[in-house]
């Protein structure tokens, strides 16, 4: 079947087997291997992508269901090639990345938290990434990275509002 969708801001049209998932299509037909394959039953979150306004386990979505959709994968998170988003930078800075295999999914989940909550609490973040397994178990650091990105955004907004007065923000305190 023919499927047309927007992928990381670019229109793409391709043919796909009816029973293939969005994950299959991304990895095998569209050449984007950032979304990872692990459990294939919607439990591990390694295949997380954004479909329209919500994140999905792309292993549980048929490619044909994504027809007409707007899809963002880890490859589409950077604002431009060669630059990283604040969340991507925060993941590296806070030490949220070890083997890296779950990270594309964690980033999409983290990005979704930042979209849903203006000021996410620790609990919001823990719940938001609860569907993304990390066997290296960098969970604390992932939570800190999302927090840091949220703080950074808050600071940028504050600076925009009070552009005449650039305030020194207190350093982010890590409670470990």
């Amino acid at each position: 079947m023919q499927v047309s969708l927007t992928l990381n801001g670019r229109p793409r049209t391709f043919s796909v087997e009816e029973h293939h998932t969005l994950l299959d299509a991304l990895r095998d037909d569209l050449g984007l291997t950032g979304a990872k394959e692990c459990c294939l039953v919607g439990e591990c979150g390694a295949c997380t992508v954004r479909l329209n306004d919500r994140i999905v386990d792309s292993c549980l979505v048929l490619a044909v269901e994504a027809d007409g959709g707007d899809i963002v994968t880890v490859e589409g998170l950077a604002p431009e090639p060669g630059r990283m988003s604040a969340l991507q930078s925060a993941f590296l800075e806070k030490g949220a990345v070890q083997c890296g295999f779950c990270i594309p999914g964690q980033l999409l989940a983290g990005d979704d938290i930042l979209r849903r909550f203006e000021h996410p609490t620790r609990h919001d973040i823990e719940e938001g990434i609860a569907g993304n397994l990390c066997r290296c178990a960098c969970y604390y650091q992932i939570v800190e990275a999302v927090e840091a990105a949220a703080h950074g955004r808050a600071r940028e907004e504050a600076q925009l509002v009070e552009s005449a007065v650039v305030r020194e923000m207190p350093p982010h305190v890590v409670d470990q």
Partner: protein, 746 residues
């Protein structure tokens, strides 16, 4: 081996992870992300039983499917090789593919290769295997029964008096005289640690392709050079004709140390002349790798004043149908089982017992977590019965720097009491406990590598940047990051100007393996040695010490190399020789030591444990990268909570695993974390690695179960000796305690 020298400012600094950017942009390529032109997709065919005689395999229906190119069986391997090649890191007992019998649920009996993954999967279901189900053993008692069916063909162990049993080997260590030792208090209990699995988020993936007159293999493997040797032997090729590409594994935890299906794929690729690709499902990884199940009986003798008298350990480790590295897990894991204490008399008898189950293999901690669970739990019980604070009892008997706590091994190489006191401080051991909460403490120790060989090539290029070749697999621990820091520090160049190359046996010099938390020490010493040689050459070429003093490296390079440019290179080597008379074949290069303490409460209605605070302190000698050390320690602690609270295989009556996959086998998520994680290190620069580093990465996992169980007992009074401390098990124990209050649980 020591390379102690005052480190530059880069050492210990939390510099960004090498390879980090690729990991957050999706650019990092794992094996499953790599495709070769003209590749075929492989799917394994397995039987729904634990043990069967293969009567016949009919591939006709599968072969009739469009796109199916072959159904490969033992017959095809034998046709090429003359007989079935067998391989394994310790014993050459594992066939390339099952021949005659399938020996565990998941043992592949055939492999289908097809043009598409769909075709391969569907055709695998159409391969008709006629088989006769045979009696299977999948418990310790079952495997040890006198009439138990033999797992291994006795002809594979000629001259071995145990060949007529399922005991593969026994490992006996003793000092002093346990039999005649006495003590005021003797505590004897049996503890059980179930099968758990590594559950790397990246399922194992393999590609094999004809490569000129040899073979090229891509594998998510920890030991590419060991795999190269295995492939060369089974294919009868020179090492130089076997090229192993080892992209960074997406987590390994020991489960990716040794060859699994690479030999099979290599035979298939050579037979069909096309690349073969096999990406396991998560369920298939459950039947490929696991930790050994263990039952440990421990008898602990302690005098009234808290002085340790003797300890006697008997451990049965249930390994799988093929040995893999599991017998080494048993030998090395049990060896240090008496812990970091001075015991006048001690004995350890451990058995590796074959069974019709998934071949067990290395898993973070390498046999130590199982025995630690038993021994540290028994110590807590002894302390309580003696009326001595469990922390105090441990401190009183802890080995001090230089003590030969295992008489024939490396002496205590750290000031371990510092870690114990620090963890007590972090958890607030002496402070009043909030109502309903309990605290527990346990110590862990693991021998580092007993032998080792690592080479590193360092090339300083004409602009003052450098290439480091280091064959360590960067599976998440961040090996390349610290090698870049070491090289940059020694050459006095910015760390951003160093590139570390790994993952290709045709390009990168030999490294024995990535295991036992060795790489910081062994490969680290090789990198530092190569870098120092390069620096010496550079200084000599640039006019000697006085001329070079204070001159930036890039300027020195220009002076040294002149207008022609070029490069300055050197090879570093780190070697830890075998000691043939040592029970393990070599003494420990270092010890990983960790102290863990937790504070928890229990929901009396559900049995659910909430860990409020988890404190973990590791003696790491010196951190090469503080951030990465924290990540490894905290990750190890949480992984330890997995087997402590939730993980275990469940078998049916036929020996099949019933909870395959992520729905029925739970690992910790962000919702299962301790409310607070307090991690710290002790750093006295007393290790054998660069700048006094020791290996680390496994220590923080070792004592988790015993610490949590001790806290559970402190909070509720219930004693559980079978892991996991799942809500169900805790709830049951609470019910028993309520019904028979004076009995406690179990």
């Amino acid at each position: 081996m020591s390379a102690a020298r005052e480190p530059g400012p880069l050492i210990g600094k939390p510099v960004p992870r090498v390879g980090g950017e690729g990991r957050v942009t999706g650019a990092q390529q794992y094996v499953a992300d790599i495709h070769l032109p003209d590749e075929l997709h492989v799917k394994l065919v397995t039987l729904p039983v634990a043990h069967a005689r293969i009567i016949s395999i009919d591939p006709s229906a599968a072969l009739a499917m469009p796109g199916v190119r072959c159904v490969f069986t033992a017959q095809d391997v034998v046709a090429v090789a003359g007989e079935m090649p067998r391989f394994g890191p310790q014993f050459s007992d594992r066939p390339v593919i099952a021949i005659g019998e399938a020996k565990y649920h998941g043992d592949p009996v055939a492999a289908v290769a097809a043009e598409t993954r769909d075709a391969a999967e569907e055709a695998a279901r159409l391969v008709h295997v006629e088989f006769e189900q045979l009696p299977a053993v999948f418990t310790i008692d079952g495997a040890l029964a006198t009439d138990a069916p033999l797992v291994q063909d006795p002809s594979l162990r000629p001259g071995d008096e145990r060949a007529g049993t399922n005991v593969l080997r026994e490992h006996d260590i003793a000092w002093g005289d346990v039999d005649s030792a006495s003590a005021d208090l003797i505590v004897e209990n049996t503890y059980h640690f179930p099968m758990v699995t590594q559950f790397a988020i990246e399922p194992h993936a393999f590609i094999a392709s004809p490569d000129g007159d040899g073979i090229a293999v891509w594998s998510s493997i920890q030991h590419p050079y060991w795999l190269q040797r295995i492939l060369a032997r089974v294919l009868r090729l020179p090492l130089a004709k076997v090229r192993v590409h080892a992209p960074d594994p997406g987590g390994a935890f020991g489960g990716k140390q040794h060859a699994k299906y690479e030999p099979l794929l290599a035979f298939m690729a050579l037979a069909l002349g096309r690349p073969m690709r096999l990406v396991l499902s998560l369920e298939e990884t459950f039947v490929a790798v696991r930790r050994t199940e263990t039952e440990v009986r421990v008898r602990t003798g302690i005098d009234r004043d808290g002085t340790f008298a003797f300890q006697d350990i008997d451990a049965n480790y249930l390994i799988g149908a093929y040995a893999d590295i599991a017998d080494r897990v048993v030998g090395k894991g049990s060896y240090i089982g008496n812990g970091p204490y001075n015991w006048p008399s001690a004995r350890i008898n451990a058995r590796s017992i074959l069974s019709h189950t998934v071949p067990s293999t290395a898993f973070r901690g390498f046999g130590n977590p199982q025995i630690n669970w038993a021994v540290e739990s028994n110590l807590t019980e002894a302390a309580l019965r003696l009326g001595i604070d469990p922390l105090e009892l441990r401190l009183r008997n802890l080995a001090n720097l230089g003590d030969r706590f295992v008489p024939f091994d490396t002496a205590c190489d750290g000031q371990w009491a510092q870690s114990v006191r620090r963890v007590a401080e972090l958890i607030g051991w002496d402070s009043p406990k909030p109502a309903g909460r309990g605290r527990g403490i346990a110590l862990g120790i693991k021998s580092g590598p007993t032998t080792g060989l690592s080479y590193s090539l360092v090339r300083l290029l004409a602009d003052g940047s450098a290439l480091v070749y280091a064959g360590t697999s960067d599976m998440g621990q961040g090996a390349r990051t610290i090698f870049a820091q070491m090289c940059a520090s020694e050459l006095d160049i910015p760390v951003e100007q160093v590139t570390v190359i790994s993952g290709d046996t045709a390009v990168v010099p030999y490294d024995q393996q990535t295991s036992a938390s060795r790489s910081t020490v062994l490969m680290g010493n090789a990198v530092v040695s190569a870098s120092r040689q390069v620096r010496e050459k550079l200084v000599a070429m640039a006019g000697g010490d006085s001329a070079a003093d204070g001159v930036p490296t890039d300027e020195l390079v220009r002076r040294a190399l002149g207008r022609m440019g070029g490069e300055i290179s050197a090879m570093g080597e780190a070697r830890k020789e075998a000691e043939p008379d040592h029970p393990l074949g070599g003494s420990a290069a270092f010890f990983e030591f960790n102290a863990t303490a937790v504070e928890l409460s229990v929901d009396q209605e559900t049995g659910d444990i909430t860990i409020h605070r988890h404190a973990t302190v590791s003696d790491v000698g010196r951190s090469m990268n503080r951030l990465q050390v924290t990540m490894q320690d905290e990750g190890a602690a949480i992984m330890g909570l997995g087997h402590t609270i939730m993980e275990h295989y469940i078998f049916d009556a036929e020996g099949r695993i019933r909870n395959l996959g992520a729905i029925d086998y739970r690992i910790p998520t962000s919702m299962d974390l301790p409310e607070e994680m307090l991690s710290d290190t002790v750093e006295n620069a007393d290790g054998p690695g660069p700048y006094g580093a020791k290996g680390m990465s496994e220590g923080a996992l070792l004592p988790v179960a015993a610490a949590v169980a001790a806290a559970l007992r402190d909070a509720t009074g219930v004693v559980i000796r079978d892991l996991p401390l799942s809500p169900e098990n805790v709830w049951r124990a609470l019910q028993v305690q309520r019904t028979i209050p004076d009995r406690g649980a179990q």
